[in-house]
């Protein structure tokens, strides 16, 4: 699990810092698969499977497809300007330092994880959260329609 965490932390840097968009997408794939490994190690097998199928499969493939179709593998200009990016970078760095202090203080360190069974997860999904589940299905359908409308050429409208 710690190896997966190290891979995810390194791949995050690759996603953000690589100028080659295809490498960023592959870094994102590494992040998704490492997260699936962490979920499986923590005992959340259902979420691990969904993460591999949706995160590693659908989302990253969609990104690579978009990079290939749009033929925009490289960013045209240097992407980092120290002056512009200083304040947001400082905010992000302070977030990391804050979290490190928090973790070092043992504040977030709780009992070892006990994940519920898949049947319990599905039970809550199909009883208490049924309306939300159906709304998510509706949202997926609506986004499918929106994507078809947006991706048409202007001459078809």
């Amino acid at each position: 699990m710690l190896a997966c965490a190290a891979v995810a932390a390194a791949a995050c840097l690759a996603v953000v810092l690589s100028r080659d968009l295809l490498r960023s997408a592959l870094g994102l794939l590494a992040v998704m698969l490492a997260l699936a490994g962490i979920y499986a190690g923590a005992g959340a097998m259902l979420i691990a499977a969904v993460q591999v199928i949706v995160g590693g499969g659908a989302v990253v493939v969609l990104f690579i497809f978009a990079i290939m179709v749009l033929n925009s593998r490289h960013e045209d200009k240097p992407s980092f300007h120290m002056g512009k990016a200083f304040i947001p970078s400082a905010v992000a760095a302070s977030l990391v330092i804050f979290a490190a202090a928090f973790a070092a203080a043992g504040f977030l360190d709780l009992a070892p994880a006990r994940m519920p069974r898949i049947s319990a997860v599905m039970g809550s999904l199909f009883s208490g959260y049924l309306l939300i589940l159906e709304a998510t299905g509706l949202l997926l359908f609506v986004s499918l329609v929106v994507v078809v409308i947006l991706a048409r050429k202007d001459t078809d409208r």
């Binding site: 995050c12 978009a66 998510t136």
Partner: protein
């Protein structure tokens, strides 16, 4: 100790995502950074559900992550379609050129 490290990883992923949104110019790279932030939040929810104590609360947390992953996929699909429309108008190579919201 492992739990603290994994929470640290979630913070680190979120911070990387924030930095990527700010410093990258390609809309595709910005979208990948947003995806990083979403996954960081998912990781925190999963870790929290493992320590929820009650099984009802824990399974509710995992159900929420299940739905969030589906929402993330829908977001990526719509966002990439918007990006294709931007590229077709010749404004997609850099976010600095996308300055108007006219239809």
């Amino acid at each position: 100790m492992t739990l603290g490290l994994l929470q640290l990883l979630a913070f680190w992923m979120f911070a990387c995502g924030v930095a990527g949104v700010v410093i990258r110019r390609s809309p595709l790279a910005v979208f990948m950074s947003i995806e990083l932030m979403l996954n960081a939040a998912n990781l925190l929810i999963v870790l929290g559900s493992g320590n929820a104590g009650m099984e009802a609360a824990a399974s509710a947390g995992l159900a929420a992550v299940f739905i969030l992953i589906a929402l993330g996929a829908a977001e990526v699909a719509v966002g990439l379609a918007v990006m294709m429309a931007m590229f077709r108008e010749g404004k997609g190579a850099s976010l600095d050129q996308a300055t108007g919201l006219k239809g």
